[in-house]
């Protein structure tokens, strides 16, 4: 393996680089801040390597182009930001219904409505609970650094093919704009992509024709299909839970945060430790499947949890489901495109741990407690 030197790369470009390294050669997207640089990168790079970038007329069209390209057997992706992802939900539901693999990047911004272009995590529910119509889930990955963006993009395409479904990778404007050194490893040729005998490529070379459809007009047949999906989702929940943990071993208070906020939470942990407070952090890498097994384990040892999000408390619900009332689960969040500071979160930690006198008063001037 020939190691390449480290290069400085921007988060938004890393999403594209990771996709290309995963063998993705097709991207269909519609411009939206703060993810446009990702589209710019792919519009420049893909044609250089025999790929295709199409600027669609809308996110509705973009996700349906992804639907077609995935059905034709290609590794394909689209990227957008919150309002555009809302428009894609119909298409994502059809992609699940047709069991097609693809990758969707959401660089989340402040909402609801047009909101703003600032970093946010308010699309958590939409991402992990299905988002579109029907009974479904899809894998959601949340990188927290530029090197991890590349790693998780490669993983996203593999998981999409493995389970034949869409995989969403979520970030925010901070992650997208951040520059960090990445080691690109060996510059291998296109990775091995599993055979797709179900793809609609024209019948030539096959004895039977292929049909891709999400329509099962007979309810019992649709139920059967839904149960097949449910079995896949159960398998994913069993084997794909991913997380990073930091100084959790002896932690009395466990912070739970993902993506950009996890970087802040990590700094809070260091600051708390320096002040002699036993604090740790669990960072979900898969938002779905949520790493509930690890949270459950931590319940035995921790006195409580503090969930920190750039929302008014969405992942909070999954942490509470995992903790199941056995320990207190506190929350601190900054919604609408604002970012919690290390100082604010540390102040929460001190309150919860009884260091400051107003330990019972969870209200702060900025931010939300639940």
């Amino acid at each position: 393996m020939r190691l390449l030197p480290k290069v400085l790369m921007k988060g938004n470009e890393a999403f594209g680089e990771g996709a290309i390294r995963a063998g993705c050669r097709y991207t269909f997207a519609y411009p939206i801040t703060p993810q446009s640089e990702l589209a710019h990168f792919l519009a420049r790079r893909l044609p250089e390597i025999g790929g295709v970038f199409v600027q669609a007329e809308s996110e509705v069209a973009a996700i349906n182009m992804v639907f077609g390209a995935a059905a034709a057997g290609a590794r394909v992706m689209t990227s957008s930001s919150s309002p555009g992802i809302s428009l894609m939900q119909e298409g994502i539901s059809y992609i699940v219904g047709a069991r097609l693999p693809c990758v969707v990047v959401n660089i989340m911004r402040g909402g609801p409505g047009l909101g703003n272009i600032a970093p946010a995590q308010g699309d958590y529910w939409q991402a992990v609970k299905g988002g579109g119509h029907g009974d479904y889930r899809h894998i959601v990955l949340a990188p927290a650094s530029v090197p991890e963006i590349i790693e998780l993009m490669e993983l996203a395409f593999d998981l999409a093919d493995k389970y034949r479904g869409p995989v969403m990778v979520v970030g925010d404007g901070i992650l997208g704009q951040m520059m960090e050194p990445v080691e690109l490893g060996s510059a291998e040729a296109t990775p091995a992509v599993p055979a797709k005998p179900w793809a609609i490529t024209g019948q030539e070379g096959r004895t039977t024709r292929n049909v891709i459809s999400s329509l099962h007009i007979v309810p019992e047949e649709n139920e059967k299909f839904n149960l097949e999906l449910a079995a896949t989702f159960a398998e994913i929940e069993r084997v794909e839970q991913r997380y990073e943990e930091y100084r959790v071993e002896d932690a009395a208070l466990v912070l739970v945060a993902f993506g950009t906020v996890a970087r802040i939470a990590k700094a809070v942990v260091d600051r708390a430790r320096a002040a002699g407070l036993p604090v740790g952090m669990i960072r979900p890498i898969t938002l779905w499947p949520f790493p509930r097994d690890r949270i459950r384990q931590a319940v035995a040892q921790a006195a409580g949890f503090l969930v920190v999000e750039m929302s008014f408390g969405q992942m909070l619900e999954d942490v509470r489901l995992s903790v199941d009332g056995k320990k207190p689960v506190h929350f601190f969040g900054r919604p609408g495109g604002t970012v919690p500071t290390v100082r604010e979160v540390f102040a929460e930690v001190e309150k919860i741990m009884g260091v400051t006198p107003d330990a019972q008063d969870f209200s702060t001037a900025a931010g939300v407690n639940r």
């Binding site: 069209a61 349906n64 639907f67 059905a71 609609i200 030539e204 024709r209």
Partner: protein, 250 residues
């Protein structure tokens, strides 16, 4: 005796579910015959709409994919960009193509996407129970225009072929009909021509086919053919609106 008429290879032997007198079936046959004549059945991917033709994947004997309502041209774009040497066609009704899917068809045409749209204009929403379509005629009664389509409140029918023919990327645009044997033959020719344009890589093609919906028009099959001829033809004139440069309009 030699066989002179048989089921096209590009149709499966599944019986159509269309209502008696519905011309969706004739249009299916014309598409299938064109695929046979060009010998491309195994190199073809068809995209089904949402509408009465949603089950077209059961009838066309080639690789098929079923798209969301109105999105067939976007789905076809995705397929074609991955498989540029395949023949890719969509089969869409007037609700699918000219209402909910207007953006997708206009931009597929504008990009000059090398796909072919077979556009079935029956002036009504068939599948959902006879509601007004963008192509419903002024005065025509539908379940959502019970007193007849009113220009003041619902506007006028969209002439899709004329509209798309203003786009550079749409290199073949025709409107045909299937209300008489002669027109059926002409329609078949146009569909084949549109496929040839795609196979030569010349650009986007669309064939608008005027079609009947006896069930929701409240007419017998025969009356429906007459109604198409008498009422629809004056609003939707037949002909080729665009042909590739250097070719003559027939």
């Amino acid at each position: 005796m030699p066989k002179t008429f048989q089921r096209p290879q590009a149709l499966t032997d599944k019986a159509f579910h269309y209502c008696p007198g519905c011309t969706h079936g004739i249009i299916h046959r014309l598409v299938a015959e064109a695929l046979d004549q060009l010998g491309v059945r195994t190199k073809t991917v068809g995209v089904c709409p949402v509408g009465c033709a949603v089950f077209a994947y059961d009838y066309f004997n080639c690789d098929m994919i079923q798209a969301a309502h109105g999105r067939a041209p976007a789905v076809a774009t995705g397929v074609k960009r991955v498989l540029p040497d395949r023949l890719v066609f969509t089969y869409q009704g007037d609700g699918d193509l000219a209402a909910i899917g207007t953006a997708e068809i206009v931009h597929a045409a504008a990009r000059g996407e090398k796909i072919t749209a077979i556009f079935v204009n029956n002036a009504i929403y068939g599948m959902t129970g006879g509601q007004m379509a963008p192509t419903t005629l002024i005065g025509q009664k539908t379940t959502t225009t019970p007193f007849g389509r009113d220009r003041e409140t619902t506007g006028c029918p969209i002439r899709v072929a004329e509209m798309l023919s203003t786009l550079e990327g749409a290199v073949y645009v025709a409107r045909v009909s299937v209300h008489s044997p002669r027109h059926v033959r002409l329609a078949g020719r146009a569909i084949r021509k549109a496929f040839e344009v795609q196979l030569r890589g010349q650009g986007f093609g669309v064939v608008e086919v005027l079609s009947t919906c006896p069930t929701n028009w409240g007419l017998s099959p025969l009356e429906a053919l007459k109604w198409l001829e008498q009422e629809m033809l004056p609003v939707f004139p037949l002909g080729e609106f665009r042909v590739p440069a250097g070719e003559e309009v027939v």
